[in-house]
């Protein structure tokens, strides 16, 4: 019977297939969700193999943001089946690994960091994002200081120097003048993270240090109202996301970006043709003498507990993430400002950056870095982000008031917390 033959052939193929699944001796697997990180990890792995362990090889796999965290969570829930040895976990999604019992499935790093003398070398406020009940599970990639990226040609051409802005009022005033000249331009881009990071600039956040929800605080609502008023005036706007966003940067609709250190790398990757046109300045403060930066995002490298190569993985992370060379190289490749204090003094962080009109970005980050506000982790953070993302367009379009939406989100999260306690 032909059918039977085909079947046997297929089954045989299937068995061979699962038997041949690659299990190279010293190959470690790493998952990353941004190509800038992946590129750096590959380079570091080569360097590690050259200098420390010639048998070492690292298979860096890039997976889309949502997909990486979903798959990692599932594989950890299944006892580590198919999990990588090392994974990049974004701070906004780390919370979901803490659900259901508190053990996120990653190697606890306290002893490792203490023994190597690394604990004091890492910025504590950043490490807090990957810490739960005293256990540290990740090593931060970036301090994520937020600065004002701006199109120097446009702003300076209109007679303004954003380096001179002291408060947001200065920014808004200049923005008004530019819009009066050219109504198509959007001086302030209200992106999905803007409200959150400006809130932190003010010293608040969606969760406080005790883990309570505070997205419905008076400050949070007032801030959103302010952003919406700017949008009504035409000083701020929300172009579509994805490729259209980069198109808007390229055609000069968007002339600034309030973004963290990693956004510099995004620019270089997605809009190489704008090289030489950008600069960056400290964020304008909300009042004179106020904080000139914030934090946005952040990603921790973690070692999966069930890995067969925990020792090797930790060695590699120590070599790459906890060394001056690794941190400096990461900045050179991706503009991620080191959260590793000994690296901050390196001269190489101050090279002129061609993309940013020859500016010394390092000096800027070093300048504002120490002011970076803390950010608190919560197992409910990713759920809150999901709720907020869904309501976002309604708030931006003025269909629903920030107060109504933020109160609703906060109530939902509080209710969830109670239901699960």
């Amino acid at each position: 019977m032909k059918k039977l033959k085909v079947l046997l052939l297929l089954l045989a193929g299937l068995m061979m297939f699962s038997a041949v699944a690659p299990v190279a001796a010293q190959e470690l697997e790493l998952w990353a969700f941004v190509n800038t990180h992946a590129r750096w990890f590959r380079e570091q792995a080569e360097r590690y193999a050259d200098e420390v362990n010639p048998d070492f090889s690292l298979n860096v796999i890039e997976i889309a943001y949502g997909d990486l965290h979903d798959r990692l969570l599932i594989s950890i829930q299944s006892g580590g089946v198919g999990a990588p040895d090392i994974a990049d976990v974004e701070q906004g999604r780390f919370g979901s690994f803490l659900r259901g019992g508190g053990d996120p499935g990653f190697v606890e790093l306290n002893a490792f960091l203490d023994q190597g003398g690394h604990t004091e070398n890492l910025v504590e406020a950043r490490q807090a994002l990957y810490t739960s009940m005293g256990s540290v599970y990740g090593i931060e990639h970036a301090l994520t200081p937020v600065v004002l990226y701006y199109r120097a040609d446009v702003w300076e051409g209109a007679g303004f120097d954003p380096q001179e802005f002291v408060t947001w009022d200065d920014f808004v005033e200049a923005g008004r003048a530019i819009v009066a000249e050219n109504p198509d331009v959007i001086p302030l881009h209200i992106h999905g993270g803007l409200h959150e990071l400006l809130l932190r600039q003010q010293g608040h956040d969606y969760f406080n240090a005790d883990g309570d929800v505070t997205i419905d605080s008076a400050e949070s609502i007032a801030l959103m109202d302010w952003l919406l008023a700017l949008k009504d005036e035409g000083v701020a706007g929300d172009p579509p996301a994805g490729d259209a966003l980069w198109a808007a940067f390229k055609d000069g609709t968007l002339i600034s970006m309030v973004g963290a250190d990693w956004y510099g790398g995004f620019f270089k990757d997605n809009a190489p043709e704008l090289s030489g046109k950008w600069k960056a300045a400290p964020l304008p403060a909300f009042e004179e003498g106020g904080r000139r930066t914030s934090v946005w995002g952040g990603t921790g490298a973690m070692v999966v507990k069930t890995s067969d190569h925990v020792e090797e993985a930790l060695d590699f992370l120590e070599f790459s993430m906890l060394s001056i060379e690794g941190n400096v190289r990461r900045f050179e490749l991706t503009t991620l400002w080191p959260p590793y204090i000994p690296a901050m003094a390196s001269e190489r962080l101050h090279a002129a950056d061609e993309y940013f009109s020859g500016q010394d970005l390092g000096a800027l980050f070093a300048d504002v870095g120490p002011e970076a506000p803390p950010q608190w982790q919560s197992p409910f953070r990713s759920q809150l982000n999901g709720l907020r993302a869904a309501a976002w367009q309604d708030v931006i379009d003025g269909n629903r008031s920030p107060e109504e939406v933020f109160t609703e989100i906060a109530d939902t999260i509080r209710d969830e917390m109670e239901f699960e306690s």
Binding site: R99, A244, Q383
Partner: protein, 296 residues
């Protein structure tokens, strides 16, 4: 029937069927019922019995569940209203005896159905794109209509997904209807024609009633398909939140979020069961409406 005294043989032959079915289908169905009365967050923590709390919460407190349910129903109704008449029209044309290129057209209409969901999602991302997109540029602009913010305005999200669904499913349903038409004995129609009925009357009084079982089949498949809708909106709207105001969050996206992002296994099971009951009720209503019951 054959009187060969086989007692165990039939059971033996159907046992592979039942074993597979029992382990991977029946057991989860039963297990799901049990789990739905427990609170289990994550798999590495002991579940806790909480009675009907999950169900109570779903019905009274979970706005997102209601939202997903409304969205999915909206999609089901919208897509059925577009797909069924279109598919029927196509089927009638394809069935007409003297048509040329029939094979070609049949295959053409079938292609969307075998295109992977991820690809469909990406394609329609370009179709509905605000500034450069196909519909806004090639359809609305020439008519002097303003750009529609398809994927950013809550009220346009579901129409966009319905259009996507219509694109993907009309062809295969036309084929189902065509098959139904082929199974209608031509004598019936001829008899009616001889009796002096017009073309329309024949369609209305002879063809359509005979297509009822097919209609029931098509609607059932459409309802089940609506509740399984996942890949296309997830890709189209860049995430499981379903775009602005969760306007495109389907039931499966919602269930996946609760079960596999928030790891609420017990709760997800309660969602599944509520869903099954709803689908069952819908299907029964639908069958009653079509009065296909008289068939068997």
């Amino acid at each position: 029937m054959f009187g060969r005294g086989r007692k165990i043989a039939p059971y033996l032959f159907i046992s592979p069927f039942f074993i597979g079915y029992a382990i991977f289908f029946l057991y989860p169905v039963v297990q799901s019922l049990q789990l739905s009365f427990y609170r289990q967050v994550g798999l590495n923590k002991a579940p806790r019995f909480i009675g009907v709390d999950n169900y109570v919460r779903l019905a009274t407190k979970d706005a997102l569940f209601i939202k997903a349910l409304t969205n999915t129903t909206y999609y089901a109704l919208g897509s059925i209203l577009i797909i069924v008449p279109l598919a029927l029209l196509l089927a009638l044309i394809l069935h007409s005896p003297k048509l040329r290129f029939r094979e070609f057209f049949r295959f053409l209409y079938f292609t969307p159905n075998i295109t992977a969901g991820v690809v469909v999602g990406i394609i329609f991302g370009l179709v509905f794109e605000e500034q450069y997109g196909l519909i806004n540029n090639l359809l609305l602009a020439p008519l002097g209509l303003e750009n529609v913010r398809w994927l950013r305005e809550a009220r346009w999200v579901m129409p966009a997904i319905i259009l996507l669904g219509a694109w993907k499913w009309t062809g295969i349903n036309a084929i189902y209807f065509m098959v139904g038409l082929q199974n209608i004995p031509p004598e019936l129609k001829e008899a009616a024609r001889v009796d002096g009925a017009t073309r329309l009357q024949v369609f209305w009084h002879v063809t359509l009633p005979l297509l009822r079982p097919i209609l029931a089949f098509v609607l059932t498949i459409a309802i089940i398909g609506s509740y399984n809708l996942f890949a296309e909106p997830a890709i189209l709207l860049r995430g499981l939140e379903g775009g602005p105001n969760n306007a495109g969050m389907t039931m499966t996206m919602y269930l996946y979020t609760r079960g596999f992002r928030e790891l609420k296994m017990g709760y997800a099971s309660a969602i599944g069961y509520s869903l099954a009951v709803i689908i069952l009720v819908l299907s029964v209503i639908q069958l009653v409406l079509i009065r296909a019951f008289r068939e068997d």
